[in-house]
Each structure stands twice: as C-alpha cells, then as structure tokens.
Symmetry: C2
DNA sequence: CGTGAAAGGGTTCACTC
DNA sequence: GAGTGAACCCTTTCACG
C-alpha cells in the first residue's frame, strides 16, 4: 500500500497520541472529519495500523529488570524451530523474540521483576524450551532508547 | 503506587485496546464510569500509564529489516557513555538501546528499509558515534514475538 | 474530498451512600 | 472510594454536492 504525506501525518499523530479523536485528527492533518475517517479506515484495514495500546510502565508494575537472552538450538530444522517458537510464545515475560542469522539462533528481550524472578523464568521457561542447547543472558543496566516505531520525519508532517 | 486487581484489569484492557472509551472500560471492569474515570486519572498521573499510541507496522512503512547491533566503547567513563548516548538518541532508526553488563556495552535494535539502507545507517550513524571501537550486526530473519508489555495475568482480570 | 445535519454516545459534574 | 443522574459537548456517519 502506498502512503502519501497526509497518511504519514495521520500515522505520526496517532503514534504520538493514540486516543486522539477523529475530529481532532482531521483538524491536525488539514482534512474534513469524513475524509479523515475514510483514510483511517484504510490504514487500519490494510494493516498499516496494527492496533492501539496503552503503554504501561513495566517498572510501575514491578518489572524493573530487562534481560537480553541469546539462545541456540540443536539444529535448524523446520520442525525444531516451530516447536521452539510455539513454546516460547506462551511465556508472558518474553517481550521480544527474533529468529536471527549468525552465531545464535534467537534473541529475546525478557522482563523480570528482579534477579530471583529471572532465575525462576530461566529455570521454568527458558531452560524448559525444547531443543535449547545454549542460553546466554546479559542484563541491562540502563534504558537509553525505547520507541515502538521509526520516527516519521516531522518535515513531512 | 499500589495496584489492586481492578487497576490491573484496567491496565490489561487498555493494553489490549488503547482506544476503548471510559464507558466501555467501566463496564468491562465492573465499575461505574465515574469511578473508572477517577482510577484512570490516577494511573495516568502516577505514570503507570505512560501514554497511548497507535502501533504502526514498520513493514508497511517500508522498514522490513531488523538488525540487532552490539557496540563496544573505548572505556566506560561517565563522560564517554554520556557522549555516546546523546549522539545515538538522534538516530531515528535506533528503536531500542540498552546499556548492558557483560561483554558488550550497548545493545541496539535498528530498523532499516533494506540492506542498502542499513549500510547507510551503519556508515553515517553507527560508525560515526563517538568512542565506538567495535560494532557487531546480526540480522533478524523472522519476528516471533513483539509485545510492548508483560502480559497481565488474565486470571486476575 | 468537503459539507451539513441527525443520532447516538461519552464525559464530567455535583450529590449521595 | 463508589454509584446515580443529568447536562453538555463532541463524535461519528450518512447522503449529497
């Protein structure tokens, strides 16, 4: 799907404030409410907008530990990967998981309340995942950047 | 701040649907609209809810490449870290950046349109960051999980 | 894509328990 | 803290130009 500068302006505005009303959005991007609503519909239906979410502070919920985990599996057969992926999706503490090229097979970002909590997650979840042969944990000391999307160039907005 | 089960239910609902109206939310968690609105106010003011955002598909905007980058600096002096961090915050393609314990100093998640785009980012941004002595790029083959927050246990909701 | 109007809901009080 | 009721404002969604 192609996006013109008005679409990008809509996306940018909704990225900044996901609860903005259609009327406010329309005014912001210089469109009538009806036209804006039609564009928004398209952006949602085409999958460009994947959803709207409150951003909850992990820290406020007690999750102050971020761990980057590298995992290797015993082989890269389709079946092996599939079984591993189905299992890991069930762990609520795994925020991000990517299948990677290179030395390790998967990179995870895990949220834990504290070290004891991470030990539990490591024992009950990560170690229990099928086909795992190597787990490497690195702890985050500080969060420098955490944004959900590539910033849309304000110049076009 | 303490959170009871109703607070958690509110957070969970708003995490799933950030555009839910206060009226719908109130019904969902079994509260009157006014009581629900008061709680929501507190959650926002206390920083438990950090904001509401549309989740835009990076892929739909042309960012189909995810790269995990490990970076080492020449020393870990306060000044070195600070200068590096200030510089990296200006790169719009860096979605996530953590200061880490262990072998590497920083872990980044970078979004690029394609390999050529990543080469540009690597050359113009990453290599140009101050104090960098080692850059290690790994490319994501597939996204398995990508959620913004720890799932709130549906049992309490 | 814009306009206009109708219809329906949502938010926010003050007040009460 | 929570519920009720009502006023007011706003939003969405048409059909039409």
């Amino acid at each position: 799907m192609e996006h013109d500068s008005i679409d990008l302006a809509i996306l940018s505005a909704l990225q900044a404030d996901g609860r903005m009303s259609n009327a406010a959005l329309a005014e912001r991007v210089g469109l009538s409410p009806s036209a804006c609503s039609r564009r928004l519909d398209n952006l949602e239906k085409s999958g460009t907008i994947r959803g709207y979410h409150a951003r909850v502070s992990n820290r406020a919920l007690g999750y102050s530990l971020t761990v980057i985990v590298h995992i290797s599996l015993s082989g890269q057969f389709q079946k092996t990967l599939r079984e591993f992926e189905e299992a890991i999706k069930r762990c609520p503490n795994v925020l991000v998981c990517y299948l990677m090229s290179g030395e390790y097979d998967y990179v995870l970002r895990v949220a834990a309340k504290d070290l004891a909590d991470y030990e539990r997650i490591h024992r009950d979840w990560l170690s229990a995942l099928p086909h795992v042969v190597k787990i490497n944990s690195s702890f985050a000391l500080r969060e420098i950047i955490d944004r959900p999307n590539v910033g849309i160039d304000p110049a076009i907005v």
